[in-house]
Amino acid sequence: MGEITLGQYYPSNSILHRLDPRVKFIGTILYIVSLFLVNSWIGYAMAGCVLAVLIGLSRVPLRFILRSMKPVLFILLFTMIFNLLLTPGDVLVRFWIFRITREGVSLAVRMGIRLAFLVMGSSIMTLTTTPNELTDAMENLFAPLSFFHVPVHEIAMMMSIALRFIPILVEETDKIKKAQMARGADFESGGLVRRVRSMIPLLVPLFVSAFRRANDLAMAMEARCYHGGSGRTQMKPLKYSKRDFIAYAIELAYLAVCIIFKVRGL
């Protein structure tokens, strides 16, 4: 097992990479909201233009962004086909028990565009932001929730520790697998049921080792005076600079335009 890239961060030094992760996080949410606000071709064209500009600014090669579509391709096609076949209205084509209607085509295309833009828009965020920055941003943005006794700091700490341990555990799985293959374990042949069952002897030692690691880590953290989020300072606190405020302004302007489009029924 070679290099494991976490998330899908694409290292670069573009303006989008340098933006504060909170700006990107909020921007992504606003963009998703806007996709469901606009319902006209001109609105989609605008969302498409914004997306194109963002992709250009991110300096991430287009194929990385398209690759992010792969996992959702099935859902995308599924939704489109259902919308295409099951929407009542002016019939265009009729075959077997299906009727393709004018409304169906329109709805399917809209749905497709929405989902595709949604996935690509959020993948721009994950491609330009490291998982750690994202965790920091979420901890910071959700901090007010701790007022309602939501353990925001603890959840963020858990996320970042999980991120750090994923490669270690993947490596460990590989090691256990090889050790068992060396003693004649068979992970490759047989049907699905057999292959899943052959994973059980892999999972038991993996869990044991994960718990042992967790125990060690907890002790190491306590030894270094970790006692939750209270009274804790940050080495790399998030700090807004001028460009972040400009980005916020642009985000708000975009949202305003979308709302105007919605109100005017464009």
């Binding site: 998982p131 750690n132 690691r213 953290m221 306590e222 030894a223 270094r224 005076c225 080495m235 790399k236």
Partner: protein, 281 residues
């Protein structure tokens, strides 16, 4: 000024539930330990597996609290709940497995973890991190992911993480057990430099004899008790006694001992190759 570490009649018990028997067993991990360490000393604790040396180490950092007796770190009783963080700041701890004690995803973030917990202001954290990383010779690796470092380098990062908390003493619990010989050398050099140049008190827990030759004072543990203590020379001159505790002496000392029993006139407790050469030629 009080001793940096002082233990009086220290004992620790825990209850072990075995799979087959209904009755839980009371295990006595360490008992009646008296210890006194002065500032700036380099102390080594030797012992076979299960001798209680790790349990003792965890008492210094207040990860374990004594069942009987008392442990003071710089005059602070580790049994006092309210002084817990004070004790842990004064006595830093480095563990055996380098992977399981690195918290950050980038080297400098990991070193900053301790000062963050202590509530040090951001600017000071950066100063401390720079300082700690340069002391262990890892400043050039600050932006790296810890996963990509060698074992010795990871352990040096772990040491830097403790140094950044500006402790009075550092306890290292078998820090080299999972390292290759080169990694072991790196780590030991860093530890010795910290002791000599920074005056940090070092408690090195190990079962490698070669590592304790430079210590000021050696304690040997067996069955939860301190069974021998003295300078490395005093301890290593008693080869037979050490062997009865299932410990071996450094190769050179062993050779000198064998030569001596075979009739070659040599002084007691030879610790380094140079000394043996000197004595023989």
């Amino acid at each position: 000024m009080p001793s940096i570490i002082k233990a009086e009649k220290l004992g620790y018990y825990y209850v072990k539930y075995s799979d087959d028997s209904e009755n839980p067993e009371l295990i006595n991990a360490i008992r009646s330990i008296d210890l006194s360490v002065e500032r700036g000393e380099f102390i080594a604790v030797l012992g076979h597996n299960g001798s209680g040396k790790s349990t003792l180490a965890k008492h210094i950092n207040a990860l374990l609290v004594p069942s009987e007796g008392t442990m003071w770190i710089d005059g602070v009783d580790t049994g006092q709940e309210e002084d817990l963080w004070k004790v842990r700041q004064k006595a830093g701890m480095v563990f055996q497995n380098p992977d399981n004690q690195i918290i950050g995803t980038v080297v400098d973030e990991d070193v900053g973890f301790g000062p963050e917990n202590l509530g040090v202001p951001t600017d000071d954290i950066w100063k401390r991190v720079d300082d700690a990383l340069s002391k262990v010779g890892m400043l050039g690796f600050r932006d790296r992911s810890p996963g990509k470092l060698s074992g010795g380098q990871k352990q040096r990062v772990a040491i830097a993480g403790v140094v950044a908390m500006q402790p009075e003493c550092i306890v290292l619990d078998e820090p080299t057990a999972m390292l290759d010989p080169n990694g072991r050398k790196e780590v030991l050099q860093v530890v010795r430099d910290l002791n000599k140049q920074e005056g940090v008190t070092v408690i090195l827990i190990t079962h490698y004899m070669e590592e304790v030759v430079f210590a000021d004072h050696v304690y040997v543990m067996d069955g939860g008790q301190i069974v021998m203590e003295g300078t490395p020379r005093e301890v290593f001159s008693q080869v037979d006694v050490l062997k009865s505790y299932r410990l071996t002496v450094p190769q050179v000392t062993e050779l000198a001992y064998e030569l001596k029993t075979a009739g070659v006139p040599l002084p007691e407790g030879i610790l380094t190759i140079d000394e043996l050469v000197e004595a023989l030629c």
